[in-house]
């Protein structure tokens, strides 16, 4: 059970003179589900984006699936294929139909033949419950549907771990649950996940560990019962009070 998929050791990241991450230490094991929360600007996106090197860290070590992240481009592409990512703003390819969005990467980088890529894509669309939208373009879908396509697109590469960066915060309230349901399913199936979200109900029900960040640091990290029941730091308490007041 304790096979680490992601390890960050003393990771720091700066934008110019601004320190976005300082001394981040983190281990996520296979099958583990980590929820990250924290105020805006605390560095949650920066941290998660360092894991697939959409941002380059300045100091420390990041090891993903046993590969250390360095400047080597080929290696990075290989790592990225094992790491699925879902963005706040969906970022579907607007010029491709839903089905083609799903098939693009498997066909190009895995060399999967058309028929099996299509079959796999359709199976995933079933799983996120929108097989009937396969031939539409992203602009013709609702936000919740687009985000589910984005999840399916990431899953098409059979990733070892999924990263979610506030996947529901751009959605209208009535669409949030359809996306969260899909994520809960994934968690139940044993997917390793790191999820930046402020959906505390979701965190409580699926997370093995909840992590609170502020000003680029990990302030507190604990299992849900402890995190909600007995937060240690004042900053965590303040944050929870604000977020649960809604």
């Amino acid at each position: 059970m304790s096979e680490p998929v992601i390890m960050m050791k003393n990771v720091s990241k700066r934008f110019g003179s601004f320190t976005a991450l300082s001394n981040i230490n983190l281990t996520v094991n296979r099958g583990e589900r980590l929820v990250v929360c924290g105020p805006s600007g605390s560095g949650k996106s920066t941290m998660i984006r360092c894991i697939n090197r959409l941002e380059e860290h300045d100091a420390g070590t990041i090891i993903v699936n046993g590969h250390e992240l360095t400047g080597n481009d080929r290696r990075i592409d290989a790592v990225r294929r094992e790491v699925g990512m879902v963005f706040q703003s969906f970022n579907l390819f607007p010029h491709l139909t839903v089905l083609k969005n799903l098939m693009l990467a498997p066909r190009l980088v895995r060399g999967t033949d058309k028929a099996s890529a299509e079959a796999a894509a359709m199976a995933l669309l079933e799983r996120v419950r929108i097989p009937e939208q396969a031939h539409k373009y992203p602009a013709q879908l609702s936000g919740g549907q687009q985000q589910r396509v984005a999840i399916a697109r990431a899953l098409c590469m059979n990733p070892k771990v999924m990263l979610f960066d506030e996947p529901t915060s751009a959605l209208d309230p009535e669409m949030i649950s359809e996306v969260l349901d899909v994520m809960v399913d994934l968690a139940r199936e044993g997917m390793t996940m790191i999820c930046v979200t402020h959906e505390m109900g979701f965190a409580r029900s699926v997370a093995d560990k909840i992590m609170f960040m502020d000003s680029g640091e990990i302030v507190e990290s604990a299992p849900p019962d402890e995190f909600f029941g007995a937060p240690k730091s004042e900053r965590t308490k303040m944050f929870l009070k604000q977020i649960l007041a809604h």
Binding site: H95, L104, L108
Partner: protein
């Protein structure tokens, strides 16, 4: 002092004799210009200073000087050098047609590469990141994700540029090319009815502009089909 409509009608078929040359100039130079633009664009976005700088200098010079001056430098200017007259390019550069196509293409290359770059800059950063996150190598990101979106974004500006190029072909008449404006100018010299003849020519240009715009509007609507919601 009367406007002679009969003269318009009788000169139209004469001016149309120059239409073929106008279209030939337009077609050749937009085709060559397109390839040139793509080449310049790749240099420009390579991220390497020794490739970017020549591209930027090229764009700066060709966009910062009048096309007419470029045409004259090439047609009248280049033969000043013996090495050009002895080079394998001389058969092309000796002819006004070759010079006109060269000047128009070089000019288009500069403008079109900037139009393409505008399209690329306009592509949503998040969409590019999504391709990156899936592990597509850089060139595949560019070909399968960035380019198709950039082309759609660049089409309206490109369509304007092609219309500009159509108008620019008229400058070839200054180096003796018998395209529509050239034909019109000889007719005026003969009949001395500038209004009738030049206006006839203008009407044909307007019709061509309209046709080009219609073609591009169709291409644009086809290329943007995925942007529109159904219903």
């Amino acid at each position: 002092m009367s406007f002679n409509f009969d003269l318009v009608w009788s000169s139209l078929p004469l001016i149309i004799q120059g239409l073929g040359m106008t279209l030939k100039l337009l077609f050749l130079s937009s085709l060559i210009g397109l390839f040139l633009a793509l080449f310049i664009l790749l240099l420009r976005i390579s991220g390497r200073w020794y490739l970017m700088w020549p591209a930027m200098a090229y764009i700066y010079v060709f966009r910062g000087t009048p096309l007419l001056v470029q045409i004259f430098v090439i047609y009248h200017g280049l033969p000043q050098f013996d090495f050009i007259r002895e080079s394998i390019f001389w058969p092309v550069l000796r002819e006004p047609f070759g010079c006109a196509v060269l000047a128009l293409s070089l000019n288009a290359g500069a403008y079109v590469s900037e139009i393409m770059r505008g399209g690329i800059i306009g592509v949503d950063k998040g969409v590019k990141e999504a391709a990156m996150a899936l592990g597509l190598p850089r060139w595949q990101q560019f070909i399968y994700v960035t380019s198709p979106i950039a082309i759609r974004l660049a089409l309206p500006a490109y369509s304007n540029e092609v219309v500009s190029m159509l108008k620019a072909t008229a400058l070839a008449s200054t180096i003796t090319m018998m395209e529509m404006t050239g034909v019109a100018r000889t007719l005026v010299a003969r009949t001395f009815a500038p209004y009738e003849i030049f206006i006839s020519a203008a009407l044909i240009y307007l019709a061509l502009t309209y046709a080009l715009q219609q073609v591009f509007a169709w291409i644009e609507s086809h290329a943007s089909r995925y942007v529109k919601k159904e219903r």
